[in-house]
C-alpha cells in the first residue's frame, strides 16, 4: 500500500472539468428560454417602473432607500421597525421553495435561479462566437491562432458587457433610477455605487463565466439540503432503467429483443450543463433543468420509439410501472399539504398585517431625571419625549390629548407657535416633541395616564399608556 502510494500519490484536489453543453431544442428548453427572458426582463426593468406617492416622496415602484431608511414596493412601504414584514416575506419565499421542491424537485435550480439564468445566457453568448459543443471543444484544445484569439476575446468582451449591465442594474434598486442613470452618463457616480457595480460585475463574470456548475455543487447550501424535501412522490428527472437497460448500439431494422431502448448515444450527457450522466440515477449535482429529457426524446423520435426514456417521474410511479400496475402520481400528499397550509397561514398573516398597518404611531418616553418637578403653586410637572410617526405621504397636523389628570396644562418645549392641538409632522417622517404635563398632585405616586394622538383631517388616532409621577416612592 505504502509503495503504491509513493508511485501514484493520492489526488486530494481535482481540476474543474470544463463543460461544453450541447445545444438542444425541446419542451423544457423552450420553458427555460421563456423563464430566462422573463426573469432578465424583470431584473433590468423593474427599477424603472414609476409609482406616484406624492411630492417629496420617491416615485420609484421598487426602491430600497438606505440613507433614509425606507423600503418601497408598489403600494407597500416599510420602515426599519417593520422589518418583520421582510422577514415574513423571506420565510414565505423559503416555504414556497420547499413546496415547489417537494412537488417538482429542484425546479428553482433548473429554471429560475440567477446562477442558472446567467450561466445559460453566458453559454448562449459562447455559442454565438465559438459554435456548438464540438467546435467549442476543438477551439479550446487548438493551439493559439488568430481565429482562436478573436473568438475567445469577443466571447469575454460580451460576457464583461453583460456583467457590467448586471452590476449596473442592481444599483438602480437602491437609488432613484433616472437620476442615477444621468450620474452614470456624466461619470459622476457616488463611490459606494461604483464599488457595487465593480464588485457585481466581477462576480457575474466569474460566477457565470467560469464557476458555473461549481457554484451549485460546492457553494450553494440549498443544493445540499434539498434532499430533505424529497420523497418517493417527488417528481424527479429519472432515467427508466427497466426500459433502457441493457443499453447498447442498435442498428436500424434490428429487433429490440433482449435489448434496452437506450442506444448509448450519450446525448443526455452532452447537453447536461452539470456534466453528469442522468442514467446513474438521482444525483446531488442534478439541477432538474430537463435538457436531457429534450435530448433523449429527440433521439427516441428518430429511432421510432416512444418518448420518455428520460422523464419527470416519481420513484413510486417507476415502481408501479415496473410491476405493471396502474400509473399514478400523487403530487398532493401530506408533505405538500403541510407546506401549503404553512404558506396559506403565513400569507394570510402578512396580508392582514399589511392591510391593518397603521400610518400613525405614537411613542412616549417619560423623563428619567428628574422624575417630577414640584412647582411654586404646588402643582406637579412631568416631562416626556414623544415621537409621532407619520407614515403617510402627506405632511399632517396632530392633536394630543391626555386623560387621567386634574387641572392639566400641556406645554410644548421650544417653538412658541406650537400648541398641543397643532403638532405638525412632515410627510413620511418622525416628529419629535418634548412636552410638559402640569397637573395637580395625585394621591398615587404613579398614576396611569393615557396619551391620545389624533390626526386633524382624517379620523386616525393612536393611544399609548404612560405614567405621571407625583412624588418620591
Amino acid at each position: 500500500m505504502q509503495e503504491s502510494l509513493e508511485k501514484n500519490p493520492l489526488r486530494l484536489f481535482s481540476e474543474q472539468k470544463i463543460i461544453f453543453p450541447k445545444r438542444v431544442w425541446g419542451k423544457f428548453r423552450k420553458i427555460k428560454w421563456i423563464i430566462m427572458t422573463c426573469t432578465l426582463f424583470v431584473y433590468y426593468f423593474a427599477p424603472w417602473i414609476r409609482w406616484d406617492r406624492g411630492p417629496q416622496i420617491p416615485n420609484q415602484a421598487i426602491l430600497i432607500d438606505m440613507p433614509n431608511r425606507r423600503a418601497y414596493f408598489f403600494f407597500i412601504e416599510i420602515w426599519p421597525q417593520e422589518i418583520y414584514f421582510l422577514t415574513g416575506i423571506l420565510i414565505f419565499l423559503a416555504v414556497a421553495l420547499f413546496l415547489s421542491t417537494s412537488l417538482v424537485g429542484r425546479a428553482w435550480c433548473g429554471y429560475a435561479c440567477p446562477q442558472t439564468v446567467w450561466t445559460d445566457l453566458f453559454v448562449w453568448v459562447e455559442r454565438i462566437f465559438q459554435g456548438d459543443r464540438n467546435s467549442r471543444m476543438k477551439l479550446s484544445n487548438a493551439p493559439i491562432s488568430f481565429n482562436k484569439i478573436w473568438r475567445k476575446l469577443s466571447t469575454h468582451i460580451a460576457w464583461i458587457v453583460i456583467a457590467i449591465l448586471t452590476g449596473g442594474a442592481w444599483v438602480f434598486y437602491f437609488n432613484d433610477a433616472p437620476t442615477l442613470l444621468e450620474q452614470i452618463i456624466n461619470f459622476d457616480v457616488p463611490w459606494s455605487v461604483l464599488s457595487w457595480i465593480v464588485v457585481l460585475t466581477f462576480s457575474t463574470y466569474l460566477m457565470a463565466g467560469f464557476a458555473r456548475e461549481q457554484v451549485c455543487t460546492y457553494m450553494c447550501p440549498y443544493a445540499r439540503f434539498q434532499s430533505a424535501m424529497f420523497d418517493r412522490d417527488t417528481l424527479i428527472i429519472s432515467y427508466d432503467e427497466f426500459r433502457g437497460e441493457p443499453r447498447g448500439k442498435h442498428k436500424a431494422g434490428d429487433s429490440w429483443e433482449n435489448k434496452g431502448h437506450c442506444i448509448n448515444c450519450t446525448e443526455c450527457i452532452q447537453v447536461c450543463p452539470m456534466g453528469i450522466d442522468i442514467r446513474q440515477g438521482l444525483q446531488m449535482e442534478c439541477i432538474a433543468c430537463g435538457l436531457c429529457i429534450d435530448a433523449c426524446n429527440k433521439i427516441m423520435k428518430k429511432i421510432n420509439l416512444p418518448a420518455g426514456l428520460i422523464r419527470y417521474d416519481t420513484e413510486k410511479n417507476k415502481g408501479r410501472r415496473f410491476r405493471n400496475e396502474k400509473e399514478k402520481k400523487s403530487l398532493l400528499r401530506g408533505r405538500t399539504y403541510s407546506y401549503l397550509s404553512i404558506l396559506l397561514i403565513l400569507s394570510a398573516a402578512i396580508l392582514y398585517m399589511l392591510l391593518n398597518r397603521s400610518i400613525l404611531e405614537l411613542n412616549v418616553l417619560h423623563d428619567r431625571n428628574p422624575l417630577f418637578v414640584k412647582l411654586s403653586n404646588g402643582q406637579i410637572r412631568n416631562s416626556y419625549d414623544i415621537k409621532i410617526l407619520n407614515k403617510s405621504f402627506k405632511s399632517k397636523k396632530y392633536s394630543l390629548s391626555i386623560e387621567g389628570l386634574k387641572n392639566l396644562k400641556i406645554k410644548i418645549q421650544g417653538i412658541e407657535s406650537l400648541s398641543s392641538n397643532n403638532l405638525p409632522v412632515v410627510a413620511n417622517s418622525v416628529g419629535h416633541y418634548r412636552i410638559f404635563l402640569i397637573a395637580d398632585k395625585n394621591k398615587e405616586v404613579r398614576k396611569k395616564v393615557i396619551f391620545n394622538i389624533r390626526e386633524l383631517d382624517d379620523e386616525i388616532s393612536d393611544t399609548v399608556e404612560n405614567i405621571f409621577i407625583s412624588g418620591k416612592y
Binding site: 493520492l10 484536489f13 481535482s14 431625571n369 418637578v373 403653586n377 421650544g414
Partner: protein, 292 residues
C-alpha cells in the same frame, strides 16, 4: 472489501477510490475537493500581503513608524480617521458658535433647527460643568437650586439666566449678582424671630390672604416685598410659594435661616466657557423650566 487496480484502492460498493486509510475495517473514500479551493486560499494570502503594503501592520523594534510599526503606503490609521470625523463635527460646531455669537436669543427661540442644536449643546455643556452641584437632571439639591421648576431667585428669562451663568452670584465678579441677608440673631430676639417664622408659614398656607405684620414690614419687606412675594432684582426669594431653598418649609429650619442665613456661591463662568457655550447653556436651562 476493496481491490487493487492500477495502484488505486477502489471501494467495491461505490466504485470510488479510497485514501487507503483504514479504521476497524472501514476505509475512507477519497472525494477530491475542487482545485479552485486552493486558488481561493492563495488569493486570500495575496490579499493579506496587499494589506501589509497598504495599511499599518507589522511591529518594528525601532519604532520609526506609527507607534512602532510599519505605516503602510496609504498612511491610514484609525486615529487619523477618527480625527477626520471629529473635524467634521467640530466644523459644524464652529459654524453654530459663530451663528450663536451673532444671533439674539429671540431669533434662536424662533428657529427650530438652531434652537434644537442649542438645547442639545447646552445639555452636554451642563453635564460637564454644572451637574456637580445642580445634578445631572438639573434638579438641584438642598442649597443648590432646582433649575426645572418655575421659581427663580434671579429671574428665569433667557437673558437673566445668561447673566447669572456668565457673571455668577456672589462670585466676586464685578458684574456678578450680589445679595446678602443679614443675620437677624443680632437684631431680633428669639420671640420676635419665632413670630416672624410663624407669619412666614401663614403666608405660605394662605396664598391669597395678605395680613399685616409690623415685624415683617419693618425688617423683611424691603427685600422680600410687602407681601413676601420676593424681589428678583435683589435675589430675594418668594416666601409664599411651595419652593423652599435652604429651609425645608418647617418652622425650625425657617428660624435658623432667619437667625444665621446661609448663602451659596455660583461662580462666574465668563472666563471658563466661551460665550456661545454660555448662550447654549442659558437656552438649555430655560428649556427645562417650560416657562416661555
Amino acid at each position: 472489501m476493496s481491490e487493487k487496480n492500477n495502484n488505486k484502492e477502489i471501494d467495491k460498493i461505490t466504485g470510488q477510490e479510497t485514501t487507503g486509510h483504514e479504521w476497524d475495517g472501514l476505509k475512507e473514500l477519497n472525494t477530491p475537493a475542487p482545485r479552485w479551493w486552493i486558488w481561493v486560499f492563495i488569493v486570500t494570502v495575496i490579499w493579506s500581503v496587499g494589506y501589509w503594503i497598504v495599511y499599518p501592520s507589522w511591529p518594528t523594534l525601532t519604532g520609526s513608524g506609527y507607534r512602532g510599526g510599519t505605516v503602510g503606503i496609504l498612511d491610514w490609521t484609525q486615529y487619523k480617521k477618527l480625527r477626520d470625523n471629529q473635524k467634521e463635527i467640530l466644523d459644524i460646531r464652529e459654524n453654530y458658535k459663530e451663528f450663536f455669537k451673532a444671533t439674539s436669543f429671540d431669533e434662536i427661540l424662533k428657529d427650530k433647527k438652531s434652537y434644537t442644536y442649542a438645547v442639545a449643546g447646552g445639555k452636554a455643556a451642563f453635564r460637564d460643568n454644572c451637574a456637580t452641584c445642580h445634578g445631572s437632571g438639573a434638579a438641584g439639591a438642598k442649597g443648590y437650586p432646582n433649575l426645572n421648576d418655575d421659581d427663580w431667585l434671579w429671574g428665569g428669562n433667557v437673558e437673566q439666566i445668561y447673566s447669572s451663568i456668565k457673571y455668577g452670584i456672589r462670585s466676586g465678579h464685578d458684574e456678578g449678582k450680589y445679595s446678602e441677608m443679614p443675620e437677624f440673631a443680632e437684631v431680633l430676639n428669639d420671640e420676635q424671630i419665632n413670630e416672624l417664622a410663624e407669619y412666614i408659614l401663614s403666608l405660605n398656607e394662605n396664598n391669597n390672604q395678605s395680613s399685616e405684620n409690623t415685624l415683617f414690614a419693618d425688617n423683611c419687606a424691603a427685600c422680600h416685598g410687602n407681601n413676601g412675594e420676593g424681589i428678583q432684582e435683589l435675589g430675594a426669594p418668594n416666601l409664599r410659594d411651595n419652593i423652599w431653598f435652604y429651609s425645608s418649609g418647617d418652622k425650625s429650619s425657617i428660624i435658623s435661616q432667619i437667625k444665621k442665613p446661609k448663602h451659596g456661591i455660583m461662580p462666574a463662568w465668563e472666563d471658563r466657557l466661551d460665550d456661545p457655550t454660555i448662550r447654549m447653556l442659558a437656552l438649555y436651562i430655560h428649556s427645562l423650566s417650560a416657562s416661555q
